[in-house]
């Protein structure tokens, strides 16, 4: 089984309304994204709300296209393009938040997309907490994650919180673990046997 397949299989086991800490090794980021979008979400017909705070919608969209990953059921919330003074014209699949410091607006855009979604099963992918931590204090980030994840749980929406292992401090790990039901770890030593 490929690494992406193994991660997707682990995702299959998560119960409804769960929050999962998806700890990804820096070299395996795209394997993890493929697992979520191309295998898990596509197979289960899940609507995905992809909150991107690391790279712009345009960039992630181009990468996913190059990897031939179907994004027709993915809606993006781009928190970074405005800050980079980048393009904010993205079509119908993306909403922009002016800055990664506007955490309330991330919640509001997510709420809007959840209301618009007709899918039975919905998934919010937060990519990544490390990027949000650059712009926000641990205190406000912790408050945000607690409110955000609790709200999604109450609506029976699954949440995947991405952290990049090499860039995550123990304190940040604690913040994410506090709101997570379980951890899926995608790192080098696990790849050898499965890829």
């Amino acid at each position: 089984m490929t690494l992406s397949g193994r991660v997707a299989a682990e995702l299959e086991q998560i119960p409804p309304s769960a929050a999962i800490s998806l700890q990804v090794g820096v070299d395996y980021y795209l394997d993890a994204i493929r697992a979520v979008l191309d295998i898990y979400a596509a197979k289960r017909d899940v609507d995905v709300i992809y909150i991107t705070a690391t790279i712009s919608y345009q960039a992630i969209s181009d990468i996913l296209k190059a990897l031939e990953i179907d994004t027709s059921k993915v809606h993006f919330i781009d928190c970074i393009s405005h800050t980079m003074m980048g393009t904010s014209i993205g079509g119908t699949q993306v909403l922009f938040v002016e800055s990664p410091t506007m955490l309330e607006n991330i919640m509001l855009k997510t709420e809007y997309l959840l209301r618009k979604s007709k899918a039975k099963e919905k998934l919010v992918l937060l990519d990544s907490v490390n990027s949000l931590a650059i712009h926000n204090s641990n205190y406000v980030l912790s408050e945000f994650l607690h409110i955000f994840v609790s709200s999604l749980r109450s609506r029976e929406v699954n949440t995947l919180i991405v952290t990049i292992i090499e860039h995550t401090t123990p304190e940040l790990n604690n913040i994410v673990n506090l709101v997570s039901d379980s951890v899926i770890r995608v790192k080098e030593e696990e790849r050898g046997g499965t890829a």
């Binding site: 607006n105 509001l108 809007y112």
Partner: protein, 251 residues
């Protein structure tokens, strides 16, 4: 003995989070001051309140004081749930107050106490005749500029709210305040007469400008007094709690 609050009939705004803040909605027949500076979303929220009412079968009326209704409808956010048939069936009615001024001959720059009474009576009569259950006046401040004195404004609002309440009409009086002011109204009498105050604002935080909403007062119900951040979307007004760790101040 006071009526237990759970028995007070509610007028659901239809804005899910606001109804939750108000423990079920605005107590029926209350007159609410919806106040805030420009660009805070007062008109959009008020319109949504009316649309939801009309969709529930309650005849609703928007009284536009400064802006022609057609222009207002063209500029306001395009709600997904605004069924155009509500307009043709007159479940949702738009009235331009300048036309009422003209019909009543109230064309002077300043109205007398008697004329203020005539204006209030005319609006109440309209509500009675059309069986209106929800009404918005946008804005009460603009009417205030025509009344000039606090005495006339107080008299006008008292008469209006008493009449509307007697007819079971739940009303939002939109009030404009200057950015940065601590007051809830321009003439300083409106807030004392209203049954409730919903304050909308712009909050600057580290260079970001957030739209906020806070229920300051609401007679007839307990309610949250916390500040919320809002977004105006085609799906309606959405609210989430303001993150306390974010800091910042209002404008």
């Amino acid at each position: 003995m006071a009526e237990p609050e759970q028995q007070r009939e509610r007028c659901k705004t239809g804005i899910e989070a606001l109804d939750s803040i108000l423990y079920g909605g605005i107590p029926r027949s209350n007159t609410i001051l919806l106040t805030g500076s420009c660009g805070t979303g007062k008109t959009s929220l008020a319109l949504e309140f009316l649309i939801h009412g009309a969709l529930e079968g309650e005849r609703s009326m928007f009284v536009s004081v400064t802006e022609a209704s057609e222009k207002l409808l063209a500029n306001v956010i395009k709600y997904d749930f605004l069924d155009k048939s509500l307009l043709s069936s007159e479940k949702l009615i738009f009235i331009d107050l300048p036309l009422i001024y003209e019909r009543l001959g109230l064309v002077k720059a300043e109205l007398s106490m008697e004329e203020a009474g005539i204006l209030a009576s005319s609006i109440i009569d309209l509500v009675k005749e059309l069986k209106i259950k929800r009404m918005v006046i946008d804005s009460i401040t603009s009417i205030g500029y025509k009344l000039k004195t606090q005495e006339k404004i107080r008299d006008f609002i008292l008469k209006l709210s008493k009449g509307l309440s007697a007819l079971g009409c739940t009303s939002l009086l939109v009030s404009e305040v200057q950015p940065g002011t601590q007051a809830y109204s321009t003439f300083m009498v409106e807030e004392a007469l209203a049954d409730g105050i919903i304050l909308m604002g712009n909050m600057e935080r580290r260079g970001d400008l957030l739209r906020t909403l806070q229920v300051i007062k609401m007679r007839g119900t307990t309610h949250s007094r916390a500040k919320y951040v809002l977004d105006l979307t085609p799906a309606g007004v959405l609210l989430v709690p303001l993150l306390k760790g974010g800091g910042g101040g209002s404008t």
